[in-house]
């Protein structure tokens, strides 16, 4: 049972995520091929590769610094809708955590809550529009419900909620992004950004599981 992560562990956690996100690129590309332009895995890989460079070389004074660095690198390296959306998530989360020196469940709640808010302000997607919001929003809710339990207990629950959310996008008709023009034809396919939202949270949980 791990209550909270140190600054170094937080860095290590995102390095772990970065390594694993590169490995799932083909799967995410495939998902994006079905209802988008097939580059989401490539974009994620590019973003996390760049984030890892920052994590490897940077000096960080708070976990907010770490999260912001991830967000800034994703935004700069990815381009496209997902660069803006995922970059916004982590940049907004990092800004709110600029004073924190450990990654606790409270920090996770803030990362998800403030991130979600910023993502929705930027992209105007609501739950049900078939975007990553359909994974991020249930994750944020689950984190809030799990409250102040240790990070090693909260993260798996949050990841599971994100997975459920991502799964649920199969039944949605896209109303945002490239998939919108597909209309009914988007049914049956999950949203790629929702998949990667789950995978990011899943790998965060997995990392904590290795400790």
């Amino acid at each position: 049972m791990i209550e909270r992560l140190s600054l170094q562990q937080t860095i290590d956690m995102f390095v772990y995520v970065a390594n694993h996100m590169e490995a799932v690129a083909a799967r995410l590309n495939e998902a994006d091929q079905a209802i988008g332009d097939g580059d989401h895995g490539e974009a994620m890989a590019r973003g996390w590769r760049s984030a890892r460079e920052a994590l490897d070389s940077g000096e960080f004074n708070s976990i907010g610094d770490v999260v912001s660095a991830v967000g800034m690198r994703m935004m700069a390296a990815m381009g496209g809708a997902s660069g803006a959306i995922f970059g916004t998530w982590f940049k907004a989360g990092g800004k709110s955590l600029a004073e924190d020196e450990t990654f606790s469940s409270e920090a996770l709640i803030i990362l998800l809550d403030h991130g979600l808010e910023a993502v929705q302000a930027r992209g105007h997607a609501n739950p049900g529009d078939k975007t990553m919001v359909d994974a991020l929003q249930p994750a944020a809710t689950a984190a809030a419900l799990a409250g102040t339990r240790p990070i090693s207990e909260v993260l798996p629950v949050v990841a599971a909620s994100a997975q459920q959310g991502a799964d649920s996008t199969r039944k949605l008709v896209a109303r945002m992004g490239r998939a919108r023009t597909l209309g009914e034809r988007s049914l049956g396919h999950p949203d790629p950004g929702a998949l990667s939202t789950h995978l990011i949270l899943q790998h965060m949980a997995d990392y904590v599981g290795t400790l």
Binding site: G80, S82, A84, R178
Partner: protein
């Protein structure tokens, strides 16, 4: 897999931009450290015009930087919008103290990245205004025009914006004229065969031997219907019905006409298309002020074409008629 004349696929964008800069003979340069271009001589106090978007549609967008055209371009990777730092760097490179107009196609990725850049620019006291181009009639119903994509109508909007930005004194005025050009422009397209992604080597989509897709987007986004190939006169008749009804264009209107190849569709075919378009416009009593035919906004070697119309008033015509010089469009 189409055989492409490239080197390492990862270097396509930077090599494209270097090739473009070389073709401009000192009139354009790369913005330090990012995939963006800026004209070398932009007068102080000029309202600056920044365009941009994903690459792979050349000469769109970066081929429309030039004299009385855009002052700079922010370039994304293949079919991917540029990121905010690229846009911001380009903004700073062309800003001359009098604001910057962003003009680009209406795609979620571009919208968000340019918006973020605009906020960052405002933080640095650079005035930014934005005109998103949404000319693709088939991509959303008229009631949801802000959901439509930008396709070859981009060329008309950038042409007018470039002339206005070279002439008018304030960002607000350039914004107003450019918005009018956007609001007066409509396009329709059709695809017959996919292009291939030069990075991955795979085709964008599949179409049967005898099928075409009406309204397919320039990244392979689905259109309104998949149909059997028919003689082009009949196809153009149907497309023209839809574009003319949309603005609507009416008897007595005066328009600019653009016929664009999406890639492998030839000038021969575009001339045959133009013939039919003009027959129809004559019947509808719509006068054509100028005709542009060529490769303006492509989708690699996709087979297909798009037709764009911009309805003129005296002001738009004045800016349209100004000479311009760029890789993608030169007018005397």
């Amino acid at each position: 897999m189409a055989k492409k004349f490239i080197n390492d696929p990862q270097n396509i964008l930077i090599e494209t931009l270097e090739g473009l800069v070389a073709a401009y003979h000192g009139r354009m340069e790369l913005v330090e450290g990012v995939a963006a271009l800026a004209k070398t001589e932009i007068p102080d106090g000029k309202v600056a015009l920044l365009i941009g978007g994903g690459s792979g549609h050349e000469p769109l967008f970066h081929g429309f930087v030039g004299e009385n055209m855009a002052d700079g371009a922010a370039c994304g990777d293949f079919f991917t919008s540029p990121s905010p730092d690229v846009i911001l760097a380009a903004t700073k490179a062309i800003h001359r103290g009098n604001g910057v107009l962003y003009v680009y196609g209406n795609y979620a990725g571009d919208n968000m990245n340019f918006d973020i850049a605009a906020e960052l620019a405002e933080d640095q006291n650079i005035d930014v205004k934005t005109v998103r181009i949404w000319d693709d009639v088939y991509s959303a119903p008229p009631g949801e025009i802000e959901m439509r994509r930008g396709i070859s109508g981009d060329i008309f909007v950038v042409k007018v914006a470039g002339a206005a930005a070279a002439t008018l004194k304030t960002l607000d005025d350039v914004y107003r004229v450019t918005t009018k050009a956007r609001d007066n422009t409509r396009s329709i397209g059709v695809a017959a065969a996919p292009g291939t992604n030069p990075v991955t080597g795979s085709a964008f989509f599949e179409l049967a031997e005898d099928e075409i897709e009406i309204g397919m987007g320039v990244h392979g986004e689905p259109g309104v219907s998949r149909e059997k190939m028919i003689p082009v006169d009949a196809l153009v008749t149907r497309l023209m019905d839809d574009i003319l009804a949309d603005l609507p264009f009416q008897s007595g209107d005066r328009v600019c006409l653009l016929i664009n190849s999406l890639g492998s569709t030839t000038v021969t075919e575009m001339l045959i298309i133009n013939r039919r378009v003009r027959e129809i416009l004559i019947k509808r009593d719509i006068a054509v002020h100028d005709t542009q035919i060529g490769h303006f906004a492509g989708s690699q070697e996709m087979a297909g074409f798009s037709i764009s119309l911009m309805k003129l008033d005296a002001e738009l015509q004045e800016y349209y008629d100004m000479p311009c010089d760029s890789l993608g469009l030169t007018k005397q």
